[in-house]
């Protein structure tokens, strides 16, 4: 545990990626093989199930810190992270422990079935004997969600550095379902194991966003475009007459999409398709909202299958005739895919192709992008004709050029304190639009990102002077300031007071030039909902 806590501390002491990778690589050289496996598991989000529920954890921590629960909760709200809050408020220890990371994780696995008293005793006694970073790491392992500024990609790079195994090979080995409690470092990383490869997907290749215009990508003739579909990016694998469906989150979701069994026995074995799972009600592409009715379900009822069937809109082919073809050019891969689609589309109704579009000028492409919303696409994907299929997010060959967000002018109505450094500032805002009939502001969205530090500061000072009422950490403020709010998607919603739900709302700019009466109305917003 000491070494792991020290690693997190070192990573916390630098913003430089190469120093983080170095620290990790050093760490992998130092620790035992079983600690390595657990570290890989934790950093690739394969944490053990949470052994104690967080309500109890909070109670125990506030008791040990000798503060009332409400004060613990307020602190948690401001710090923003439960493990960090606990590590900060409980008294500091002068004791030491030599227990390894693996020992700790094995204890946590065993803890789940214990009584509340045993759990409490376990947590409290450990909090008492760990120093700040160890306490933080220990609690983080208990509460889960280990995000510490090291992506899986960086971890893989460090592992490559310390083992000498190629980074891409490692990424492949680390995919899929494996249990850190059952697998050895030898089996996971060092051994070549054919059987494991049957279900293994390839690391996804991800595109970078084009912020402005694609013009500096050079000659449009070197590029192909497709629509960017708003579903679940997935790999569909057919090997030895078995189907495996992987989502981008590296989750095996085969059972959720029984429609795809249709691929098996028809498509030749040794095929991996990269595509987007899309809802397809009434024989047309549905919205992401439609698809959500399928995502949450473990078992899919016949009724749901009829109401919201899915298709696979295929972008690419990564394996063919049992061979990894990612190093072939995009055009060559698409040629294979197109032929496959032509041969099987009538037999396999879920097999859809993402159509390729060629453009001779960038502004033609821009026109196509403007139509994206009408066909329920999010914008365009631009891929270099001769590009290979890469690993992870890489700049250069694949770009996404999303549709411009929706935007509307709204009035600031409520403000709430931010987290961490900004915990003294009011940085979480609620915005309203005018209800013309009742001449009042109706809340339509919450947003926090999008202002500069300077703007935050000046708005914060204004809020403190123009508070109408306080409700805990929230204040209502005088309606006065107008902001342009951008968002990605819009749909009707019964759960929202406004009757409208927006996706990813954020502040795009402060409309100092507008008076509150000039903000938009709820009717304006509703008019944006695609029919």
């Amino acid at each position: 545990m000491k070494a792991f806590a020290q690693l997190i501390k070192t990573i916390d002491s630098t913003n430089k990626t190469n120093l983080k990778v170095e620290a990790l690589a050093d760490y992998f050289q130092q620790v035992s093989d079983e600690d390595k496996v657990w570290t890989i598991a934790i950093l690739s989000h394969r944490r053990p199930p949470r052994p104690v529920n967080t309500t109890l954890i909070r109670e125990y921590a506030s008791e040990l810190a000798n503060i009332p629960l409400w004060l613990f909760e307020e602190s948690y709200h401001i710090v923003g992270d439960l493990a960090e809050t606990i590590a900060l408020v409980v008294p500091d220890s002068q004791q030491e422990t030599e227990k390894s990371l693996t020992q700790y994780l094995e204890e946590m696995l065993a803890l789940k079935k214990e009584s509340d008293e045993v759990k409490k005793e376990y947590l409290v006694s450990n909090w008492k004997k760990l120093n700040y970073y160890e306490r933080f790491v220990f609690t983080k392992l208990i509460t889960g969600g280990f995000r510490i500024g090291v992506s899986q990609k960086l971890m893989t790079r460090a592992l490559a550095k310390s083992t000498g195994i190629d980074e891409e090979v490692l990424a492949f080995k680390l995919m899929g379902n494996w249990n850190p409690n059952k697998i050895s470092f030898q089996e996971l990383i060092l051994e070549e194991n054919e059987a494991d490869y049957l279900s293994k997907p390839y690391p996804f290749y991800l595109a970078y966003a084009i912020e402005d215009q694609p013009n500096d990508l050079g000659d449009p003739k070197d590029w192909l475009a497709e629509h960017k579909w708003d579903g679940i990016r997935s790999q569909v694998i057919i090997r030895k007459n078995q189907l495996f469906v992987w989502s981008r989150g590296e989750e095996l979701v085969t059972d959720k999409y029984p429609e795809f069994e249709d691929f098996v026995g028809k498509l030749p074995n040794g095929i991996v398709l990269d595509g987007e799972i899309l809802a397809y009600p009434n024989n047309e592409i549905g919205s992401f909202k439609d698809l959500q009715t399928r995502i949450g379900r473990k078992t899919v009822s016949k009724k749901l299958l009829e109401k919201t069937p899915v298709i696979l809109k295929v972008y690419d082919i990564l394996e063919y005739e049992g061979k990894d073809i990612r190093k072939k050019s995009f055009v060559d891969r698409r040629r294979i895919l197109d032929q496959l689609h032509a041969d099987f589309k009538d037999e396999i109704s879920v097999f859809h192709l993402s159509e390729i579009m060629k453009f001779s000028a960038w502004d033609e492409m821009a026109k196509e992008r403007e139509n994206a919303r009408e066909i329920k696409s999010e914008g365009l994907m631009i891929k270099r004709k001769n590009s290979t299929y890469g690993v992870g997010r890489k700049k250069g060959d694949w770009w996404k050029w999303k549709s411009d967000p929706f935007s509307i002018d709204a009035v600031l109505t409520y403000a709430m304190r931010g987290h961490g450094r900004r915990s003294n500032l009011f940085t979480d805002y609620t915005f309203g639009l005018w209800d013309d009939e009742h001449k009042e502001l109706v809340t339509f969205a919450k947003a926090y990102s999008g202002l500069t530090d300077k703007e935050f500061k000046s708005l914060d000072a204004w809020i403190k002077k123009h508070t109408l009422e306080r409700f805990g950490p929230v204040r209502s403020v005088e309606p006065y300031h107008v902001f342009e709010i951008a968002f990605e998607g819009i749909a009707e919603s019964k759960r929202h007071k406004s009757g409208v739900a927006t996706r990813f709302p954020r502040i795009s700019r402060w409309r100092n030039d507008k008076k509150m009466g000039e903000a938009n109305t709820l009717e304006d917003l509703k008019a944006m909902i695609p029919k």
């Binding site: 916390d12 002491s13 630098t14 913003n15 430089k16 810190a65 503060i67 009332p68 409400w70 004060l71 613990f72 307020e74 602190s75 401001i78 710090v79 923003g80 992270d81 960090e84 809050t85 900060l88 408020v89 500091d92 500024g149 987290h419 961490g420 450094r421 900004r422 915990s423 003294n424 500032l425 403190k464 002077k465 306080r470």
Partner: protein, 329 residues
């Protein structure tokens, strides 16, 4: 209801009986100033009263103003109200303001910390009936380590950077934090360079405190001579072009806010040292207890939360709005 001895109005904290303000945020005729930070000593008052050691700071920041100065513990009377200044331990020349009238005693803390920092006169609790306290770090998440430990870490960090062939850039407010850092950096490790804002302020304070020598960074300063040495800079210098001269460099910030892991990341700083010129949670509570007061008024910081907790401890505690900065470190 009788008028309180000190009231919070639109211009500042007002003592009606004496017709004098304390740390006013709008221009007034007569003001008693707790310390030299910009939000407490503002421009435009007719007459300033403050501690001797704060005079050079105020003059440096505001130019020639009408100013009268006092020693700690020296009492003076304005319209039958008795005033005196007492060490606040926040920065050089910082004072708490004690106000006594008809047997009632109020103390305004200004900004304060209860740990002796080796630079300014240490904080002294002043017995009173009503204590007006800041609570910038009034949350149980804030706990400071003894400064000796923090300075040990800072000097170690500098040494390590030097061994790695990098320049150490350390951020701290130019008044207060910078001098406290300077006082405790180990000049045997290397040279200490300064940003202009810090150099000027430190120069003003050299007549009051002994500091190690510093070297102002100028246009002529080269990367080569900076390498392995330490640069003291105000937080505002981060992100500008000025800092490129230090390449290869490592950045750190010394502030109470560095308690939060996210604070360091959000400000794109490599290393955070938790070091503050304000009280931590226990410091606030202990100081309030030590005054023996019954009533507490919480001004800037986590006022609502802190006042609520004080009420649970049995104090008659409330909050008042002021225009002091809540983001000082």
């Amino acid at each position: 209801m009788k008028t309180p001895l000190l009231a919070f109005n639109s211009k500042g904290i007002y003592c009606e009986a004496a017709d004098v303000y304390i740390d006013a945020w709008k221009p007034v005729d007569k003001v008693i100033i707790s310390h030299g930070h910009a939000d407490h000593s503002r421009w435009g008052h007719q007459k300033y009263i403050t501690h001797h050691d704060n005079v050079p700071i105020v003059k440096h920041r505001l130019g020639e103003v009408n100013i009268e100065s006092k020693a700690y513990g020296e009492s003076f009377t304005i319209n039958n109200v008795k005033f005196s200044l007492h060490p606040a331990g926040h920065i050089i020349g910082s004072a708490q303001v004690r106000v006594e009238h008809k047997g009632e005693v109020w103390v305004f803390s200004g900004d304060y910390k209860d740990e002796a920092d080796g630079v300014c006169t240490p904080f002294e609790a002043v017995p009173c009936h009503t204590f007006i306290t800041e609570c910038t770090f009034g949350l149980p998440a804030f706990k400071w380590k003894p400064q000796a430990e923090v300075f040990e870490e800072i000097n170690q960090w500098w040494k390590q950077n030097q061994a790695d062939g990098r320049t150490s850039v350390l951020f701290g407010y130019s008044l207060g934090k910078a001098q406290r850092l300077l006082k405790h950096l180990n000049p045997e490790i290397g040279k200490i360079y300064t940003h202009g804002a810090i150099e000027n302020m430190t120069e003003v304070l050299r007549s009051l405190v002994d500091f190690p020598p510093t070297h102002l960074i100028t246009r002529e300063t080269t990367k080569v001579e900076l390498n392995g040495n330490l640069v003291l800079a105000p937080p505002s210098a981060h992100g500008g072009t000025w800092i490129r001269k230090m390449t290869p460099y490592v950045t750190a910030s010394a502030s109470g806010w560095m308690t939060f892991r996210g604070a360091r990341r959000r400000r794109a700083i490599d290393k955070g040292f938790v070091l503050s010129d304000h009280c931590d949670w226990n410091g606030l509570i202990n100081s309030i207890k030590a005054t023996g007061c019954e009533k507490v008024i919480c001004t800037h910081g986590y006022t609502d939360i802190f006042a609520k907790y004080l009420r649970e401890l049995g104090y008659d505690a409330r909050t008042e709005k002021t225009q002091y900065e809540e983001n000082e470190d």
